[in-house]
């Protein structure tokens, strides 16, 4: 499932995938795969992304049940 919230949060911060990847310390491909929902990041990476985007884990990664 695509992580649209992460993509929106990144764009709100006026960051490109490359910028976020540099801040977090991973490759751009990893950020792209997380946003596309093709890679499950570790908790450590999730926290690093949240800190970089100024969001909480809930805001970016919690899946709301319908």
């Amino acid at each position: 499932m695509k992580n649209i919230r992460m993509k929106v949060a990144r764009i709100e911060r006026d960051m490109k995938q490359e910028d976020l990847a540099q801040v977090v310390g991973v490759t751009r491909q990893t950020i792209g795969l997380i946003e596309a929902g093709k890679y499950n990041p570790s908790l450590k990476l999730c926290i690093a992304i949240c800190k970089a985007l100024g969001k909480t884990l809930d805001e970016l990664f919690w899946e709301e049940t319908p």
Partner: protein, 159 residues
């Protein structure tokens, strides 16, 4: 949920053990090849299996990493510098290894000038061959990275 967490840990640990085993096996193969070739002076047929396995595994590792999209030259714009450094190091290693092997075999029957010229030619040929190989790897890696970047650009434009 508990099972899932335990699974992740054990799967990661099993993969790590597998990776360590593979590294140890490759090291053992390399040592076996070098010992048979240079210490025991055995003909190629004796260590052909180890030779094929070692270089086959190295080739597989390389190709899989490139096709999986792992950037082999992760530092931007310094890729070609590493191609040159690696080529020189490879040329030097080939020169030293074959130099020692040749000295133990023919050291008594050669003059020092011929010896030096042989070493120089070995170094130049080794460096040139390595440079071609590393350049090809660099090119394939760069092409794959560019393809991934283009795909990511396309996806980013979709929103």
């Amino acid at each position: 949920m508990k099972d899932l967490i335990q699974d992740e840990r054990t799967v990661a640990q099993k993969r790590k053990i597998g990776s360590e085993t593979c590294s140890l096996l490759l090291l053992a193969l390399l040592i076996a090849i070098l010992v048979q070739q240079f210490v025991l002076n055995l003909p190629f047929a004796n260590y052909a299996a180890e030779f094929i396995c070692f270089f086959g595994a190295c080739f597989y590792l390389l190709i899989r990493n490139i096709t999986a999209g792992n950037d082999l030259y992760s530092r931007k714009n310094t890729g070609y510098k590493w191609v040159i450094i690696n080529s020189l190091l490879c040329g030097f290693t080939i020169c030293v290894v074959t130099g020692i092997a040749n000295y133990t075999r023919y050291g008594d029957n050669t003059t020092s000038s011929i010896w030096l010229i042989t070493l120089l030619i070995t170094f130049l040929c080794g460096t040139a061959a390595s440079f071609l190989g590393f350049s090809l790897i660099h090119y394939l890696n760069k092409k794959k990275q560019q393809k991934i970047a283009d795909e990511l650009d396309e996806e980013e434009d979709i929103l």
